[in-house]
Symmetry: C2
Subunit: 355 residues, 2 copies
């Protein structure tokens, strides 16, 4: 791979698409001068925005697609009918080696199903997982799965640990990552059987870094481990519970600073520091959920994001591609020689969570 990277963008996904997507690409262009874009979308909708962004135009190829996958579309319908959609074409560009990764802010379930069908899974991995960064007391952690797999068996959890571990080493640069299984207590027999079995297998596997065993919900923000492994149901609820709490405290804080003239003056004095805090806790900073386990790089942006958030999602794809995540995980999977492991559970009724 040369220093240059190409990122495929689904211009039609997201509440404010395609304008938000193109403006986001333009911001990402400034941050990542080595990146070129392959933009997929309806020419008549995309061209008016692209033509206004002269510098972006110079590094962008627009590919016309007739169809758009709507947010309400079922993944199965999108798979059948969406062959000419911007989403599908963008994913195919990755499969065909024309792009190093794809970013879409469209229908999560459809993006997951299409990515799985077009890019296929990495050898030995059953299901893709959705992963994202979390801010913590000590830096950043990654958590997976955040909603791709509502029910998981022990082997799925082990796979997620392998994926998260490789991710942490390539993108977070943590060469000896600590990793743990999210549970309701640290003791031996807390939780359910899949967790106990996953713990026993992870103890045997000895991935790089340190296996912490079980962690609890408050360990996420504490930063107790670099990689938090959980099923998609629990991960999704934990992520959204944390987001809801952050919003609640922000609204408390706003009303606090409006509650008296002294508080208002205090806010004015502390304004610059507060702006830094706002920047630090800006949810756009953590936009860009990665689909790990696929034989290719696919990143899902939040549908309601703005250009700043979308540019961050592009940044995630760039980091994955530049860090050589796929090569690393392929090497890891080869070394683990998992073909010798227990027979795989054939159940793949993965159910994606539409964001």
């Amino acid at each position: 791979m040369s220093d240059r990277l190409t990122i495929a963008l689904d211009a039609m996904g997201g509440d404010q698409a395609p304008r938000m997507v193109l403006r986001g690409a333009n911001l990402a262009r400034k941050r990542h001068p080595q990146v070129e874009f392959l933009v997929f979308g309806r020419e008549q909708d995309v061209q008016p925005y692209l033509s206004k962004l002269k510098k972006l135009r110079q590094v962008t190829t627009l590919v016309h697609c007739d169809d758009v996958v709507s947010d309400s579309e079922k993944p199965s319908t999108a798979l059948r009918n969406g062959r000419n959609s911007s989403m599908r074409q963008a994913i195919q560009a990755v499969r065909d080696g024309k792009a190093d990764g794809v970013v879409s802010a469209g229908n999560t379930g459809a993006l997951m199903a299409m990515s799985k069908m077009v890019l296929k899974m990495l050898p030995g991995i059953d299901r893709p997982a959705i992963a994202s960064f979390f801010p913590t007391q000590v830096g950043e952690s990654v958590m997976l799965d955040l909603g791709a797999n509502v029910q998981c068996d022990a082997q799925n959890l082990v796979d997620f640990a392998i994926l998260g571990n490789a991710f942490s080493r390539t993108v977070l640069g943590t060469m000896e990552p600590s990793y743990g299984l999210l549970n309701v207590g640290a003791e031996e027999r807390k939780g359910h059987e899949a967790l106990w079995e996953a713990r026993d297998r992870l103890k045997e596997l000895e991935l790089p870094g340190r296996f912490h065993g079980f962690i609890e919900g408050d360990d996420i923000a504490k930063g107790t481990v670099d990689v938090i492994v959980t099923d998609g149901f629990t991960g999704n609820v934990a992520l959204k519970a944390a987001e809801g709490t952050a919003k609640l405290i922000s609204s408390y804080l706003r009303s606090t600073f409006k509650s008296s003239i002294f508080a208002q003056l205090g806010y004015l004095l502390a304004r610059r520091a507060m702006q830094k805090l706002r920047k630090r806790t800006d949810p756009r900073r953590y936009n860009g959920a990665m689909f790990l386990g696929l034989n290719g790089i696919a990143v899902k942006s939040h549908g309601g994001t703005d250009p700043v958030g979308f540019a961050n999602a592009i940044g995630v794809a760039v980091d994955l591609a530049r860090g050589g995540f796929l090569d690393r995980i392929r090497a890891d999977l080869g070394q683990l020689d998992r073909t010798a492991g227990p027979a795989r559970n054939g159940n793949s009724s993965a159910q994606a969570v539409a964001g």
Copy 2:
């Protein structure tokens, strides 16, 4: 029941017991002048603190118990060996009609197992659930289960909805509570089968108030519903993820106000408002988890709390007793005529989460 209430206290539970328990009782005495206390514990340990609190002594009867249930004890061991423990004796006081409710900051699993054995379940309810208040954008909600039942079937979830609904009407004073099932999306087929079945049954049951269907993790802090129903695994993780996030933002805020001289001055000006905010988000305010579904009132205080937090847990027991929660829920269960419902699942492998 006269206006006077008696609360049984396990003086030996909690990191700072028995001092913390007695000081907490003394604070609660000031807030609830109609309450008397039955305090269970080792006389030689309790008496030195009680003798210093003259006014508390006037409304307190100390009952000596030789044994103490330790935090590390397994619930099964505590059941076998803890007959003369302060915890067991305090629970028995409720069963024998000597107290209107019991409060303990001791071993959660043991307290749950003993309460279930001694107080028994309400007719038609299979398992107790742990419930607690949550602050929201619009006030307060109650969530259950928070960890008593790691795996739940549809009927357990329905039972939790019935319990939470009665609770909301008696203690929160919300006569038409809204209630919802915690899931990973609002759509018909999100999540797993137990949730779909519970939703269908709740639609038929038509409890007082409004059934909202499925809610998501961010709806907890939004206050979308008054009663959040979930299994103990998900509820425990969501609760702790929210607590962890709140602590993370507090620590960000502290470092923000220290980051420059202007921010420090700003803090000084806004100090009174910030103190109100701190009061509002004080975790001690939400101390006191209720064990619902039992034929008696039992409240678990956080083991690491201080007298202020313990007094709040006592307040929760007082509110439950005074609000007539047990009468209300018995009337509800009678009206529902659940004996005509589907056969109960006999699986009661409830597993308590030690707090």
